[in-house]
Amino acid sequence: MDFKNVKEYLGWLYYQYLLITSIYVLEPWEQSIFNSVLFSILAMVVYTSYMVVPVHVHLALEVFSGICGEQPESTMALMN
């Protein structure tokens, strides 16, 4: 299949999304309801991950480096 421009390709991708989720059989206003619900859920997921993930990754790295950092110091203390 050859697409003349990006807009046609995006239109085809939207069509695939309608077919795979079977939203294709619904009336247009029902499709709008479903699309807005899905979009808001996805937006919330993206926002939450943006707020939460870097902080938690940073904290996790701190914890792990804390453990690795402490171990050699304690064995050195024991030997001394």
């Binding site: 299949m1 309608l18 077919l19 795979i20 989720t21 079977s22 059989v25 619904l26 009336e27 479903f34």
Partner: protein, 532 residues
């Protein structure tokens, strides 16, 4: 992936002639996992929206188009069981423009479809008055192309109308037994190679009214999982015990037979009066062919009876069109009751039951439709007579045999091309019924509409006629389809398959294997065709 090869393998006995005429490959490939997941997801979403719409209708925000109780009778026992119609109301109604399309011409290889529009999302339809002409017909049961209106071919049929009129106005037992009915019964018996046959006016009624005459209480019916509704209805009406075995699975059948013979009737453990195995020649939803040599061997070993429903296979398979008994090289007298219909390969209507003379004579007086149903109409009888004589070659031409061969060629060509393209096809390589799996409900509907826009008429089937994850499009090939028509359909299928992403098959096909035992010059032409 289920992949079975049909050979006579069980129990050491094969067909009496010892010659294996038929080695079919059947395949039932399974789609990747994500397809099943998305199908269930799709059904789940539409069900949720169905509940939402039902709520709106109950509250009154939306007009209710379906039947409901009158206000005065709201306290009575509910008449319209709302939940049973949930699926019909909320899924089928949305997309029902793909079914029951009115046609206005002969259902030959091409036909005219009447155009209709719906202003309110398929609750009501309005015919625009225009027709869509010359739509290629891939759905009619017209295997040998006898659905034709050529005046020369139909001369004898017209003569019969002038001689007998159209209605018989009686049953066979009273005043409706015409000479041509007896002529047809003798011809059917000769065609099938059995002693005697009986014809009836309706194919469905042949099964549902004759099975109660053959078996009753105290008998056992072993019926295949995917048997047609007419067989199931006949079995239930008879009052016999019904046990189901897995589709075309000889181990399952043998196990059920052994259990039945060993333990007898349910509570009393007395031996069964009769055990009857009911199978079909070609299963129309799967395109699979029954393993007849194995079943005949099992039936002889356990002394059961065999009822073979050849609705789709009579005239359509076998080197001379005699059905599955000829396909496997078996003696027709091995099958106790041969049943078939004239609707599919003969372009008429009605059914027959054939077998030994004592059986058919018994059925003539004890079967419901033989005794009570109106006799077959004279022009329909004449159409079957001329079609059967054409297939047997008794009219002096080779038209019949040419058609049988052309159907076999079309079948092989179409199936192999579809598999090369990457679609998942069910069924035996030699069956003219080809289910193409679509799986998701959205794609099923889009497929049917897209093919009609390209002037190809297809039949799509979904739940509840098929399992919920296996919705399909079913193609019925015809000897009347020319190579150009099939090529056009294949081209459109290729494009629609790419557009809708329907090519789920994970097999690799490099080139079509050459078949040595069918010598047709046209096959060589196929290889020179450019792949589309």
């Amino acid at each position: 992936r289920r992949h079975t090869t049909i050979n006579g393998r069980a129990n050491g006995t094969g067909p009496p002639s010892g010659k294996r005429l038929f080695q079919g490959q059947e395949s039932f490939e399974q789609a990747p996992m994500y397809v099943a997941v998305m199908t269930y997801l799709g059904f789940g979403l539409v069900t949720l929206f169905g509940y939402f719409r039902d709520f709106l209708r109950a509250v009154g925000l939306e007009k209710c188009h379906i039947a409901k109780e009158r206000d005065e009778q709201k306290d009575f026992v509910p008449l319209y069981q709302d939940f049973e119609n949930f699926y019909t109301r909320n899924l089928y109604m949305r997309v029902r423009d793909n079914w029951n399309r009115p046609i206005c011409s002969l259902p030959g290889p091409v036909f005219d479809v009447m155009e209709r529009v719906s202003p309110d999302y398929n609750w009501t339809f309005r015919l625009t008055g225009k027709t869509i002409p010359n739509v290629i017909n891939m759905g009619s049961y017209n295997y040998l192309g006898f659905a034709e209106n050529n005046v020369d071919f139909l001369k004898t049929v017209a003569e019969r109308v002038q001689q007998y009129g159209l209605g018989v106005c009686s049953t066979r037992q009273e005043m409706g037994n015409l000479g041509i009915h007896q002529e047809l019964e003798e011809l059917v018996a000769e065609f099938l190679g059995v002693e005697s046959a009986m014809v009836l006016g309706m194919g469905f009624a042949t099964n549902s009214t004759n099975i109660p005459a053959l078996v009753g209480k105290g008998c056992l019916i072993l019926s295949d999982e995917l048997n047609h509704t007419s067989l199931i209805l006949g079995a239930r009406l008879s009052g016999a015990t019904i046990r189901v075995f897995k589709h075309n699975n000889m181990q399952s059948l043998e196990r059920v037979l052994r259990d039945a013979v060993c333990s007898g009737q349910p509570h009393t453990h007395r031996p069964w009066k009769k055990i009857m195995i009911m199978v079909e020649g070609i299963y129309s939803m799967e395109g699979s062919v029954v393993c007849l040599p194995d079943i005949v061997a099992l039936k002889k070993k356990y002394k059961a009876y065999l009822y073979l429903d050849e609705a789709h296979s009579i005239g359509a398979v076998g080197p001379t069109g005699r059905g599955v008994t000829e396909l496997f090289g078996l003696d027709p007298s091995d099958v106790d009751v041969l049943m078939g219909t004239f609707t599919k390969s003969f372009g008429a209507a009605g059914g027959y039951i054939a077998g030994k003379k004592e059986l058919v004579d018994y059925l003539r007086s004890h079967s419901h439709s033989a005794v009570y149903a109106s006799a077959m109409s004279p022009p329909v009888t004449e159409q079957i007579l001329r079609a059967m004589r054409c297939i047997m070659g008794l009219d002096g031409t080779t038209i019949g045999q040419t058609r049988v061969h052309r159907l076999a060629e079309n079948t092989r060509y179409f199936r192999s091309r579809l598999q090369e393209m990457g679609f998942i096809i069910y069924g035996n390589d030699d069956s003219p019924v080809i289910p193409l799996l679509l799986y998701m409900p959205g794609k099923v509907v889009a497929f049917s509409r897209a093919m009609l826009r390209r002037k190809v008429g297809v039949v799509v089937v979904g739940f509840p006629a098929t399992p919920i994850t296996e919705a399909r499009a079913r193609f019925c090939l015809s000897a009347a389809h020319t190579k150009e028509m099939l090529d056009k359909v294949l081209f459109d299928l290729n494009e629609v398959g790419d557009e809708l992403c329907l090519k789920f098959s994970q097999r690799k096909y490099t080139s079509r294997p050459k078949e040595q035992h069918h010598n047709n010059n046209d096959l060589n032409k196929d290889f020179k065709q450019d792949s589309l």
